[in-house]
């Protein structure tokens, strides 16, 4: 009797969960289906849910060539990859030093780095903009990349991981005569690989999604990233929904694929970030 009850309960719960899974997926399905429709098909009243012709790829070829999305894609990839590499390296070494070395000011510096995570971006947006004007960095790559050196979240995450590395490993290497940098590169980094993966994915995603700052900094189409490109072409898209959906699809699908490959690392990273309390 009890077993039967719990089977019925499980069944009902699965139905509810599948229903909401469909709700969560619906916008994506709508997006992908629409990217195969002509603009006339999209604006038709009443619109059809499925495209008439699945082989209609003109939206994609148009958005890549006419709307420069090929260039935007390349730029997004460039900024995201370079920034990710810098964030990983800087955060790992800073997090490791703060976790494993005792020196005066250690605690103060760590607390300050953590505190910076609470600063809302509107408070520093205008002064940062002013600084970019002073440094003459407007429109230059460095205006996007410099912030990789101040990833509070990165330092925090790597610090938490470095704490878990046993001191005896490090001492043994020191007795063998390994230099501190060698210990960091050959022992610490490989042991923090899981955290490195999580941080890499987060950084990449944030950069891929970053809109406002690149929008303020980048002044020529040849440097736009996908979010900036999407925002700048929005006006042109109003009359041209087909390419718009293709553009949105190009912005979303690559990270979905990356996510599906690294799902486990993603989830672990988030769960870890949540345990900081």
């Amino acid at each position: 009797m009890k077993k039967n009850n719990s089977k019925i309960y499980d069944g009902i719960v699965h139905i509810i969960l599948i229903f909401f899974a469909a709700v969560m997926l619906l916008p994506f399905i709508f997006m992908i289906l629409s990217s195969f429709k002509t603009t006339a098909e999209i604006t038709k009243i009443p619109p059809a849910f499925f495209p008439e012709n699945w082989g209609y790829l003109k939206n994609f070829t148009d958005v890549l060539s006419k709307y420069n999305f090929g260039i935007f894609f390349k730029n997004s990839l460039y900024y995201a990859v370079v920034k990710t590499v810098i964030v990983i390296y800087v955060s790992s070494i800073v997090g490791y030093v703060l976790a494993k070395f005792k020196f005066r000011g250690n605690r103060v510096i760590f607390t300050m780095i953590l505190a910076t995570m609470m600063i809302p971006w509107p408070a520093t947006l205008i002064p940062n903009y002013q600084m970019m004007v002073w440094f003459n960095w407007l429109g230059k790559d460095i205006s996007i990349l410099y912030s990789a050196f101040i990833s509070g979240f990165g330092v925090f995450l790597m610090h938490q991981f470095a704490l878990g590395i046993p001191d005896s490993f490090l001492e043994a290497a020191r007795i063998d005569g390994a230099s501190e940098m060698k210990i960091f590169h050959k022992i610490v980094m490989p042991m923090m690989l899981n955290a490195v993966g999580a941080l890499a994915i987060f950084t990449f995603l944030w950069e891929w999604d970053n809109y406002l700052w690149p929008y303020l900094m980048l002044d020529e189409v040849a440097k736009y990233t996908i979010p900036v490109g999407l925002s700048m072409t929005q006006g042109q898209f109003v009359a041209n929904y087909g390419p718009m959906f293709a553009g949105i699809t190009i912005a979303v699908i690559p990270v979905v694929i990356v996510y599906l490959i690294f799902q486990k690392t993603f989830i672990q990273g988030i769960a870890l970030g949540g345990e900081k309390g």
């Binding site: 009443p46 809302p120 912005a251 989830i267």
Partner: protein, 294 residues
């Protein structure tokens, strides 16, 4: 010999500490602490980053902001948006986490799907939802028409527009909430549930009186991080309604941005951003304190 080797080791240690900490101190001073001090001081001036002309106006920028009805409107909208989105995100996050945990099977399948919006670009997602909310031929109105109902002006109606954006924000963040809460639930010792089950507590009862108190930490972190995020909401406002209809979805960040980069009132924008900073700071302190006292 031994002493010499020790010295070398010591100096290696010193080198790595000095290099990394110098980098940290310089970078954070230049790009974090200086901008805060600079922003705060320039909020007492009328200025413009392109011409280095500063006119000291004292607290005028603050009084100007506080007297401006648009400031209060955007503050009200921000608070409304934050509370609404928090309730939706945390509420559904808890509900889905409880349901997924209670059936055991399919955890990674559901989590995988619910998490997809979290990783999607907010600009792209906002444009997508904007079209789904489109009055003439958007997805929602097509469905309503298909069911023989009348169309809803989702983004044109003052009282619907902001909740419509809350739904987008919640849709994007539920997966994040779900993952955090599930991680919290999974870290609970299973024997606690078992003994409660033996005592005859039902699934619902167990969730309310055992699970929720034990995952309070995860929920606090979730609420604080999302509260800070939502108080600064910009992208969906910019891409879905541009603050409209009228100023009915105008939020603090949107207002600050317009004030600075559309009207070039940088002093006033700085003042408003520090008011926002103060509000966020006080809220997160209260939240942390509340959690500690409990």
């Amino acid at each position: 010999m031994k002493v010499a080797k020790n010295k070398i080791k010591q100096s290696g240690r010193k080198t790595i500490i000095i290099w990394t900490m110098s980098l940290v101190v310089i970078m954070y001073s230049v790009f974090v602490f200086f901008p805060i001090i600079y922003g705060l001081s320039t909020s007492f001036f009328n200025w413009n980053p392109f011409q280095s002309v500063f006119k000291f106006v004292g607290v005028d920028n603050y009084t100007y902001a506080l007297k401006n009805p648009l400031f209060w409107k955007s503050l009200g909208n921000t608070i409304y948006f934050t509370i609404g989105s928090l309730i939706l995100t945390v509420g559904f996050g808890l509900l889905f986490a409880a349901l997924i945990h209670s059936v055991k099977r399919g955890t990674s399948f559901y989590r995988g799907i619910y998490f997809l919006p979290v990783i999607s670009s907010m600009v792209a997602v906002s444009m997508l939802w904007k079209f789904m909310y489109n009055y003439d031929n958007g997805f929602f109105n097509s469905v309503l028409m298909g069911m023989g109902l009348s169309k809803v002006p989702w983004l044109q109606n003052s009282s619907i527009a902001l909740p419509a954006i809350m739904v987008v924000q919640a849709w994007k963040d539920i997966g994040y909430a779900l993952v955090l809460i599930l991680a919290g639930i999974n870290s609970i010792d299973p024997s606690i549930f078992e003994s409660a089950e033996i005592d005859g507590a039902g699934k619902f009862r167990r969730f309310i009186s055992i699970t929720i108190p034990l995952i309070k930490n995860s929920i606090t972190i979730l609420v604080i991080t999302k509260l800070i995020d939502y108080m600064q909401v910009y992208t969906p406002i910019k891409f879905i309604t541009e603050g409209g209809p009228g100023t009915d979805t105008n939020t603090m960040s949107f207002y600050i941005f317009e004030e600075a980069f559309t009207y070039y009132n940088f002093g006033s924008a700085s003042a408003i951003s520090f008011i926002l900073f103060a509000i966020i700071f006080i809220l997160s302190m209260v939240q942390l304190k509340f959690n500690k006292n409990n």
